[in-house]
């Protein structure tokens, strides 16, 4: 696609534009390689897992509503906290981030698709099948129960002898493949496919944060891949990487996990920073304050993010020198983050601020995220961390940055770009109800947890004794969680009611759009831009508006547009990996049935899965698909 977009001028109409096979219904969704449709797939799948993770959170809070509650037993509680964390991070918010990136990034940089549309579809399907595999654990002998960090020895077969943790390692491995593919795709897209005139320093902030996020994915995900492979080998093949008796080292897992895990939290928050940096200037009718310092701060956060992982391990016993070094490097991150906070405030200052739903979420984000940042600096101090470690103070901190930061940012982005994705404006009234119920519920749930933690309530413990002053605060926290659930349901209701209205959103429905996505119809045609636009500055569309122009100056004549073909191969490849993973996981099990034992114990199921995957790859390599063209006459006919 990259070269196709570049060589567009020279490509002659080949006359087979109409012979392309078009799928409809379910097959259209399974075979699509269109970034806009993949965005919607990511949104629904991510939304589904977000709902499951939310339900798990509600169950956890119901269990903790009163002391000595017997609503859940300890094992179920452990499974719920593990799956809540894992699902929310890997299967809930990351896919929704990818949904927004897919929906917006090609439009913002003036491209007709991502660099590798086929890989884009493959990334989605591997994520989805990894997520399904992980959640199958609930009905296949028990979910993972060693926490989302899966620390050894708790996650070793000695202490976790169901298949739960195997579902975790193999499910995450498959889902992580999708994330890595997605990250590489966005790197290639942003480097090679920006519209003429859009230099790096003219890119919208969301494109910048997507670029940096993708770079972090590229560097951080290999670490967790290695860690998960080692843990899988320990558990299924009897290796000794983390087994002390066999000469292994459990602390190695913590290092590997957090070398990935800390950059992971910046993978989560940087896109939210990007969304906020788009929403606030639009609804302040001002350009972003300190654009270049924002870019610099984003890069600095990404760089420092790789040098702080041991602050998760202060109590492991790394020694005072290491703890001091990691304390200081952690506190350093507050500097670029502070730059961002002040830049957003200065953008709003003196602007014509409109509190639409997206801007309400963005304005709510700033103080809420700042509170999470402040507790982060508190936790960065190693001596204090010895007190905070494994208490609800930590739980409050990371929910303030992930929910109060990322999820508010995602809600802002979803309300902001919904008309561009679906051609329909969400109801402002319901949106404001969503905001108020969600943010009040959020602070009720998590603000009190700071104090629960300081009073000594431990995280990951399934119940607590009465008369420790925990009772009232836990009740408040549970009521708040219910309120957050109401907010989420209101959003779903809003989306449902909106889907029944006619698709009548204008090209620039917020009227103050600044970037390229607002110059094309909502939703965009499948080729996005009839003519690639010429970019003449930061906030390209706003610049044309202030010059009195109605639209962008085209950078090319109207010509035949090369499109990638729809294909089912990404789907079949992912199905194959899914089957292979499941087969490998049960390869050492004893089945009552001789035929089943034969299939699994001889790796036949695994082999079938791998044959499907590699067969699909072979088909892809042997069968040259040159795509198809949309001719100028068709473009004019629209």
């Amino acid at each position: 696609m990259a070269q196709a977009a570049h060589s567009l001028n020279s490509s002659k109409p080949l006359g087979h534009g109409h012979s392309v096979k078009r799928h409809t219904g379910l097959m259209d969704w399974i075979t699509t390689v269109d970034h806009k449709k993949i965005a919607i797939l990511y949104l629904w799948a991510g939304g589904l897992f977000f709902g499951i993770g939310g339900l798990e959170a509600i169950l956890i809070r119901i269990q903790l509503i009163k002391p000595m509650n017997a609503f859940l037993d300890a094992q179920t509680f452990n499974e719920l906290i593990t799956m809540h964390g894992t699902t929310m991070i890997f299967l809930g918010v990351m896919p929704i981030i990818f949904a927004l990136m897919n929906a917006v990034i090609p439009l913002q940089i003036g491209a007709r698709d991502v660099a590798f549309p086929f890989l884009n579809a493959l990334g989605f399907w591997t994520f989805l099948f990894g997520g399904i595999l992980l959640n199958l654990s609930w009905i296949m002998g028990g979910a993972p129960d060693a926490g989302w960090t899966a620390y050894v020895p708790l996650s070793s077969t000695t202490y976790s002898n169901t298949h739960g943790v195997d579902f975790y390692t193999i499910g995450l491995q498959i889902a992580g493949l999708g994330t890595l593919i997605g990250g590489i795709n966005f790197l290639a897209t942003i480097i090679t496919m920006r519209a003429p005139g859009m230099s790096f320093m003219r890119m919208p902030m969301f494109a910048w944060t997507t670029f940096i996020t993708s770079a972090i994915i590229l560097f951080a995900f290999p670490a967790v891949t290695v860690g998960l492979v080692l843990l899988t080998f320990d558990r299924i093949l009897g290796a000794n990487f983390f087994d002390v008796a066999g000469g292994g080292n459990p602390v190695l897992w913590q290092h590997i996990f957090w070398i990935f895990g800390h950059p992971e939290v910046y993978i989560l928050i940087l896109p939210a920073f990007g969304i906020i940096s788009e929403v606030i200037p639009t609804f302040s009718r001002k350009r972003l304050f300190g654009y270049s310092s924002m870019v610099f701060a984003t890069i600095l956060i990404a760089f420092l993010g790789f040098m702080v992982w041991a602050h998760h391990m202060f109590t492991t016993g790394l020694g005072p020198v290491a703890n001091a070094l990691f304390s200081v490097s952690t506190m350093l991150i507050a500097v670029p983050t502070g730059i961002k906070i002040f830049n957003w405030l200065f953008t709003m200052w003196g602007g014509q601020v409109r509190f639409t739903t997206p801007n309400l979420f963005a304005a709510g984000f700033i103080p809420t995220f700042t509170m999470g940042g402040v507790t982060g600096v508190m936790l960065a101090s190693a001596p204090a961390d010895f007190q905070f470690h494994d208490t609800y103070f930590v739980v409050a901190h990371f929910h303030y940055v992930i929910v109060g930061g990322l999820v508010l940012g995602l809600f802002a982005g979803l309300h902001y770009w919904w008309p561009k994705m679906f051609g329909r404006m969400l109801s402002e009234k319901l949106g404001k109800w969503t905001f108020w119920t969600f943010i009040i519920g959020f602070h009720m749930t998590f603000f009190v947890q700071h104090f629960l933690g300081l009073m000594g309530m431990q995280r990951r413990v399934f119940t607590y004794l009465p008369n420790q002053q925990f009772d009232l605060l836990n009740l408040v926290s549970t009521i708040g969680a219910g309120l957050m659930g109401v907010g989420t349901i209101l959003f779903l209701l809003n989306a449902f009611l909106t889907s029944r209205r006619p698709a009548d959103a204008a090209d620039d429905p917020w009227e103050d759009g600044r970037t390229l996505e607002w110059t094309i119809p909502s939703p965009p045609p499948e080729y996005n831009f009839k003519q690639t636009p010429l970019v003449r500055g930061i906030d390209a569309f706003w610049k044309e508006k202030t010059a009195g122009h109605k639209g962008m100056t085209p950078a090319e004549p109207v010509g035949s547009i090369h499109m990638p073909s729809a294909t089912v191969l990404p789907f079949t490849m992912s199905v194959g990996i899914f089957i292979a993973g499941l087969g490998f996981m049960f390869s050492r099990d004893e089945f009552g049935n001789a035929f089943m034992s034969f299939l699994f114990n001889n790796y036949i199921v695994t082999a079938i899965g791998l044959v499907i995957t590699f067969g699909s790859m072979l088909l892809r390599s042997l069968y040259d698909d040159h795509g198809w063209h949309i001719e100028p006459e068709e473009l004019e006919g629209r």
Partner: protein
């Protein structure tokens, strides 16, 4: 991608001077010599093991520069982004190796 580069070669020629094969032959011989020195240092025997290790490391580093610079084209113009990302990769991988040596291997 490949076809496009070929078709553009004629246009590109006058923009930046096309290098002849001469330089590449020299570099190729140089990397063979590096390999031979490293191989000889061990195969010949009689070389002090400590010296051999240092020599091997020096040869390896030179080899990496030759491979990256000439055969991966990192010395050419327009390769800033690959270089930045390689340095990033070295940085992260290096941190992990130092971690593993310092806290897991020696501790």
């Amino acid at each position: 991608m490949a076809t496009e580069q070929h078709s553009q070669e004629g246009v590109v020629k006058h923009r930046h001077r096309h290098e002849g094969p001469q330089k590449h032959i020299v570099v190729f011989i140089f990397s063979i010599v590096l390999t031979l020195i490293a191989f000889a240092a061990v195969a010949a025997g009689g070389v002090n093991p400590a010296f051999a290790v240092v020599l091997l490391l020096v040869m390896a580093v030179l080899q990496v520069f030759v491979q990256m610079g000439f055969w991966m084209h990192l010395k050419d113009r327009g390769h800033l982004i690959p270089i930045i990302f390689m340095i990033g990769g070295f940085f992260v991988a290096g941190t992990s190796i130092i971690m593993a040596l310092y806290w897991v291997w020696w501790d």
